[in-house]
Each structure stands twice: as C-alpha cells, then as structure tokens.
Symmetry: C2
Subunit: 78 residues, 2 copies
Amino acid sequence: MQTDPRILFGRRLAQVRKLKGWSQERLALESGIARSYLGGVERGQRNIALINICKLAETLEVPVGELFLFEPPADGAP
Amino acid sequence: MQTDPRILFGRRLAQVRKLKGWSQERLALESGIARSYLGGVERGQRNIALINICKLAETLEVPVGELFLFEPPADGAP
C-alpha cells in the first residue's frame, strides 16, 4: 500500500457518495452511521471495520469492491 | 446484506488463501497478523478493520475488492 488505506478509502467513499449526488448527512441518515464518524472516515481518520464498510456499500447500492477502487495518486501528490 | 458480512468475508478470505495454496499459518506470518486472530476472521468471528483488510489483500497479492467477491449462498444454505 503506497498510501494509508484510511486516506484512500475515505477519498473513494466521498467520491462514490458524490457521484450518487448524496450529501454526507444523507448517507449518514440512510446508513444509520453517525455523521461525525462518517466525516472522520472520509477524512481518513478512522479505521472503519467490515460491518460498517458493508453497510455503507449497501446503502450506496454499490458492490463493496467498488469502495476499494482506489485511484493511483497523481504525480507529485502528497 | 443477506448474511453476516463477517461470515461472508471470512469464507472468501479462506477461499482466496487456499487458491494461493497458502496455509493459515503462512498468511499469518507473511502479513504479520496473529494466527489466532486470522483464524477468528476466517471463522466469521471478527469485525476486521480497513488497515488489516488491506494488509491481507496486499500479502495475498490480490486487489482488495477480490476479498469482497462473496458467493451467493447455495439454496437452503444457512
């Protein structure tokens, strides 16, 4: 793993959520996961576990693997 | 999710590991994750978190999403 998986996952989750046109608040409400926790996940600050990962994918109606399609960092990106 | 994600993930992890011809002990050694913990994950008893999920995929040299290709349960399966 070139970068912290928490950062990669958080970035990808936010991307999938935005592609769906959902706010963080809506995803929190529909998944039953606290908005503050979800914010921490998207900021790469939380080591989210299996059950909640699957809950988010189910809520967003994507296969779980979709949340792990991390983009390679751009050249020179931190 | 029709079945507990811990069960589905554990079953899939064991499947990917066996396809590679690795023992649980070897995966534990190469990933740095305790064998007893790994056993619990494969038995569906652990809510394994992001960092360790990514570590296992990296050790098994598969994309993380590969570990989430859950098979649909057979008819009449518990």
